[in-house]
């Protein structure tokens, strides 16, 4: 590669470019095993993946705060979002806006509590959000007892399932959301603050970054996104049920790893998260076409996550960085 800019780009995005190529390979494979290569099959997978992508984007933000932070309350928030939305709407279009406002409010509360535990009680994020997840589950069950959660307001259903000339609205919305988050990360004070504190919190503090504010906003945004994802998922699967978010726990982490987000923080990649979630669903579809059962699909998925990680670790960029982190940890 002669072009240094291209080289830098590939260096920065190596792991998800690889996943992107993987997506194309899988798509072609799918065509070979199935009914020929068609754009339709890709779009269908993108549609399924778009729900995961929202959860993945939420997870990506929290992971980027660094020091091994992971938001384990995302599945709880997805389920709660679904219940709240279904319960309040009760099939009426007119109630969608109030319902979404309540979801928003819940997200703000959950995110604030999460970040408060991390910042002031100094509980590791992974434990704090896990405890939060338990509490959300309880709230969800209480909601469950109060409301009818199996009638979907038509507009929400349309958003979740409507297609414009074979392109699902959801896919477009998720791409727009990713674009917005990409913009936030690259071109706003918030993004610079988040990415800097994820790389080195002490350096960020000394550079004058408002760490507490940034961290709180990140947890809140993640919780709100997860809640909205829940509302949309429930519209797609026509109803809310307990444990509906559980699958998103590990998959939201998997898709950002594939997407080139650093688990140690400081580097996020919104586009990569989209590719990562598509990649995970293409594997499943491909395996289904090949006649593999759910178990085999999971095995291949797990193996690929590790392989992508090992490939990512081999590029010089991250090696240099690891060396750097080691010295930081040593001195810290």
């Amino acid at each position: 590669m002669k072009n240094p800019k291209l080289k830098a780009f590939v260096g920065r995005n190596g792991s998800w470019l690889f996943a992107g190529i993987g997506c194309i390979v899988l798509w072609i494979l799918m065509g070979l095993f199935g009914s020929g290569i068609s754009l339709r099959s890709l779009i269908d997978n993108a549609y399924t993946a778009s729900f995961l992508a929202i959860a993945g984007l939420a997870q990506m933000l929290v992971v980027t705060t660094g020091r091994g932070a992971i938001d384990l309350s995302i599945p709880g928030m997805i389920t709660l979002g679904a219940y709240t939305c279904m319960g309040i709407c009760n099939g009426q279009n007119s109630m969608i806006v109030p319902a979404l406002l309540v979801v928003l409010l819940e997200g703000v509360i959950v995110g604030t509590l999460n970040s408060a535990m991390v910042i002031w009680l100094k509980i590791p994020a992974i434990i704090a959000t896990m405890a939060m997840n338990y509490m959300i589950v309880t709230v969800t069950m209480l909601v469950n007892n109060q409301f009818n959660v199996f009638t979907i307001p038509p507009i929400l259903k349309n958003i979740a399932t409507f297609r414009i000339a074979t392109v699902p609205v959801m896919v477009v919305l998720v791409i727009l959301l990713a674009a917005l988050i990409h913009f936030m990360l690259t071109s706003t004070t918030y993004g610079k603050s988040l990415l800097s504190m994820g790389q080195n919190q002490e350096a960020a503090r000394l550079a004058g970054v408002k760490i507490i504010k940034t961290e709180m906003i990140t947890y809140i945004t993640a919780a709100v996104l997860a809640g909205i994802a829940g509302a949309l998922i429930s519209a797609r699967v026509t109803g809310a049920y307990l444990g509906m978010g559980d699958n998103y726990q590990m998959e939201s982490i998997a898709c950002i790893v594939v997407g080139g987000t650093l688990m140690s923080g400081g580097r996020a990649n919104a586009a990569g998260t989209l590719v990562g979630s598509l990649f995970l669903y293409l594997i499943i579809s491909c395996m289904q076409l090949m006649g593999a059962d759910a178990g085999m699909q999971s095995v291949v998925k797990g193996a690929l996550i590790i392989i992508v990680l090992l490939i990512g670790a081999s590029d010089n960029n991250s090696r240099r960085e690891k060396k750097y982190r080691k010295t930081v940890n040593k001195t810290a």
Binding site: L121, I123, I126, S196, L206, A207, D293, G302, E321, K330
Partner: protein, 816 residues
């Protein structure tokens, strides 16, 4: 200067002879051309101002760094420097007591002795031997030290830890030369005296020492030879009788601040003080600072000097933290920007370009949603980027592609771009070449002449010439103030080196009772079980106990497995799924064909050490590897058995789940497994494994293999996870691929509740078991109180947060 004693030395072969050592940290020459000979029985004092190259020389002699040029002879035999490492240095008998401690804080005192000197505690009863070794070494150097060799290292004061570090080095039987780098910096007066006595006594017996200290009176007491370094070169060498404190201070002060740099940069007249920007301290006092008084205004360059670690950095940090706040004793007007001294640790953002690094402080101002356009970025970067002549492929290049000096320019540009009124500089020219330094000096002057206030902590005494005002600090106090051209290097040296009488703190302050880490979990378990028992006395019967054990057995085993992993500062996100997979294998393959089943179990078990190997060799995060593995485990389990079913082999049930006259065998097994886990961790190699969880580098330097340690820990974790699956099979007499999934996160929670930490290798198997039991019993408790099961999860979460918050309070009290 040849004395009789020295003539005698000339005839002898030096113990260690270093010839023409040179080490360059581009662009700084840390050690220029040093030749030094140390004879048997010498106590050689190595003296020099900050940055003279003492530490670099020490590191080169002990193999921590490889020098660029030079030869090393030990008793006249040349040493191959290309393969010289701390380990080979130790084999040659060279040992260093570093300023930073290389102890494992999660081990006890005698265990720290053991992991570094395993050969001295061979044979049976190594604990007794190690204890004895520790006690003897401590008694030998520090009589009446008051250190309990059984105490955990984290329970000792810094002074006591330093005593342990010194004593540990002395008990190496192969040691011939010991290098002590500022050994007394945190020792109380009594122990300092004891150490000096010990050194002098053993030197007479033939041991050799290099002693580095800023305390010249100490040197006068113990050393027989003095070697003074300046700017990486020898300044003076001779017998102690030929020198004195005044002489040494004079020699160190000579030749610095010759005005070379200043003449190059020209004269500077400070502008009229800018009254809109100021820092005023009037008796400001913190833990590290005492009664600080000074006033500075915009337009001035305030230098903070003195020996490193005497409060200059604390003062700088306080000004940064307190800016914009109203506090007594310090008034600050104006915005501040901080230029970090330790670039790698607290300066650069390594994933970012030069441009991003340069604008972060400016970008961080204002509302979080402020849009930072491309034009804004270019505009912010351009001016200073050009002005500072940063050598690079353009502002979009990665900051890590720059040399140290250019990185430093970017960091200074960061403060200048932000246009802050007060610029705090923490030794910004460390490791920067002279032309760049001159450019930076110009910048500081320009900033000051524009009405900004520059506060500059420097370790390079030549730079004091650039300051319009100077504070000399010693032990957190301002001991000297200079203004204008009155800088007197000799005076500064003597002010800095004057050590006031050492406070005679007793070595064993702060020794109050320490709660064991598992205490909260134990109390929680007893309380929950007790409350349950008041509701249902049945729980106190053997039947009740057995019923409960059946409920928490699998989680307890997973928690034991997770304890090993978290003890290494990793997390296993696949333990629950692994347990499920083993459950399925037991109830299908093992039931159908014992041999095939056993092989299958061994194959999946082998995956654990393999994961450990991959994590070690490829340096990948354990959390992702185990996450990926969790998909593989649950996938294989689902492929083998898509619906719950199967039967547990009868022999497993008869071993693990049979009623005996007293209790079910499962209860016994759990106790056995717990004891085995604890014993493994307390064994010789288990102690080493714990050491790896806390201070990996110290363990590697002591000669232990990292790969072997990782694989052992993962294998242990795998075995316990496997047993968890076996127990599940025995209890349920059937298998369900996904029934154990929740154990993954619950086991992590159990370990943390049980007093474990995610980093530092602090874990407790017993605590983890208590945690696992508590978490399981909460649901029983709520059931007994007829609380709807809806609340179970939430109360589990609340208990988790409550216990961890209590722990935080406990931790606060400890640090307070």
């Amino acid at each position: 200067m040849t004395t009789g004693a020295q003539e005698k030395q000339e005839d002898r072969i030096p113990l260690i002879q270093a010839d023409h050592f040179r080490k360059v940290y581009f662009p700084t020459v840390a050690v220029d051309d040093i030749s030094i000979s140390i004879y048997k029985g010498d106590i050689l004092a190595l003296v020099g101002a900050n940055g003279a190259g003492k530490s670099t020389l020490t590191k080169a002699l002990s193999g921590v760094i490889n020098c660029d040029e030079g030869e090393l002879y030990v008793e006249g035999k040349e040493v191959d420097l290309s393969s010289y490492s701390p380990l080979t240095a130790r084999k040659l008998g060279i040992r260093v007591v570093h300023q930073e401690l290389s102890l494992c804080k999660n081990l006890t005192v005698y265990e720290n002795f053991y992991v570094e000197q395993p050969q001295s505690a061979k044979g049976s009863n190594w604990r007794k031997k190690a204890r004895q070794m520790a006690k003897e070494a401590l008694d030998k150097v520090f009589p009446e030290h008051g250190i309990d060799v059984n105490a955990g290292l984290d329970k000792l004061s810094i002074a006591q830890q330093q005593m342990v570090e010194i004593a540990r080095a002395t008990c190496d039987p192969d040691m011939r030369l010991m290098i002590l780098d500022e050994p007394t910096s945190s020792l109380p007066a009594e122990q300092t005296g004891q150490l000096q006595d010990y050194l002098m006594r053993t030197a007479k017996e033939g041991m050799t020492y290099i002693y580095i200290s800023h305390r010249l009176n100490e040197i006068m007491t113990i050393a027989n030879r003095v070697y003074i370094m300046q700017n990486g070169n020898k300044k003076w060498e001779g017998s102690i009788h030929e020198t004195s404190e005044e002489h040494m201070v004079a020699l160190m002060g000579e030749g610095i601040g010759s005005g070379e740099a200043v003449t190059e940069c020209g004269e500077y007249t400070p502008p009229e003080p800018n009254e809109d920007v100021f820092v005023k301290c009037d008796g400001y006092t913190t833990q590290a600072l005492h009664n600080i008084k000074f006033e500075v205004y915009g337009g001035q360059i305030l230098g903070l000097t003195g020996l490193e670690g005497n409060g200059q950095l604390d003062l700088l940090q306080e000004i940064f933290k307190k800016a914009g706040k109203q506090i007594s004793g310090m008034q600050i007007k104006g915005t501040v920007a901080y230029v970090a001294g330790d670039r790698k640790k607290e300066g650069i953002f390594p994933l970012w370009s030069i441009a991003d690094n340069q604008v972060i402080t400016k970008a961080a101002h204002g509302g979080l949603l402020r849009h930072l356009s491309k034009e804004w970025l270019e505009e912010s970067v351009g001016y200073w980027y050009d002005k500072l002549h940063i050598k690079s492929d353009g502002p979009e290049a990665l900051i890590t592609s720059l040399s140290g000096g250019n990185q430093q320019k970017v960091l200074i540009a960061r403060a200048l771009v932000a246009d802050a009124d007060i610029i705090l500089l923490d030794d910004p020219t460390r490791g920067v070449d002279q032309p760049t330094k001159n450019a930076l000096y110009e910048l500081f002057r320009e900033a000051a002449s524009n009405g900004k206030l520059v506060i500059w902590r420097t370790s390079d005494d030549a730079e004091l010439e650039f300051c319009t005002k100077l504070l000399v600090m010693n032990s957190g106090r301002v001991v000297g103030k200079f203004e204008g051209d009155t800088v007197d290097h000799g005076k500064i040296m003597s002010l800095s080196f004057t050590s006031e009488e050492k406070k005679n703190e007793s070595g064993d302050e702060k020794r109050h009772f320490q709660m064991p880490g598992f205490l909260f979990a134990l109390i929680a378990m007893i309380v929950i079980y007790g409350v349950c028992a008041t509701r249902s006395p049945l729980l106190l019967s053997t039947y009740g106990v057995q019923l409960m054990v059946t409920g928490f057995a699998a989680l307890v085993m997973c928690a034991l497995s997770q304890t090993f992993i978290i003890g290494l500062s990793h997390v296993d996100l696949g333990v629950g799924n692994f347990c499920g997979l083993v459950n399925v294998l037991c109830c299908t393959f093992l039931f159908d064909n014992p041999i095939m089943g056993a092989v299958a179990l061994l194959v999946v078990l082998a995956a654990y050490p393999l994961m450990g190997y991959v994590i070690c060799k490829r340096n990948v995060p354990a959390i992702i590897v185990t996450l990926g593995a969790s998909f593989v485990w649950s996938g294989i389990a689902l492929s083998i058995q898509s619906m719950p079913g199967g039967t547990c082999p009868a022999w497993i049930r008869s071993i693990f789940y049979t009623n005996t006259p007293i209790l079910n065998t499962l209860c016994f097994w759990l106790v056995v497994f717990l004891i085995v886990a604890i014993l493994i961790y307390r064994s010789r190699y288990g102690t080493v494994l714990r050491g790896f969880g806390n201070n990996e580098n110290a363990m590697i330097n002591s000669g232990w293999s990292r790969a072997k340690a990782y694989m052992s820990i993962y294998l242990l974790a795998g075995i316990f996870a496997l047993l968890a699956g076996v127990c599940t099979s025995a209890i349920n007499n059937a298998s369900d691929a996904s029934a154990s999934d929740t154990y993954t996160m619950l086991s992590v929670a159990s370990v943390i509740i049980g007093g474990g930490y995610f980093s530092g290798g602090v874990v407790s198997h017993f605590g983890a078991v208590c945690g696992a039991v508590s978490l399981t019993m909460i649901s029983v408790l709520l059931g007994l109180f007829r609380v709807s099961t809806d609340y179970t999860a939430s109360i589990q979460g609340l208990v988790l947060i409550l216990i961890l918050s209590l722990r935080l309070l406990k931790g606060r009290r400890k640090t307070a």
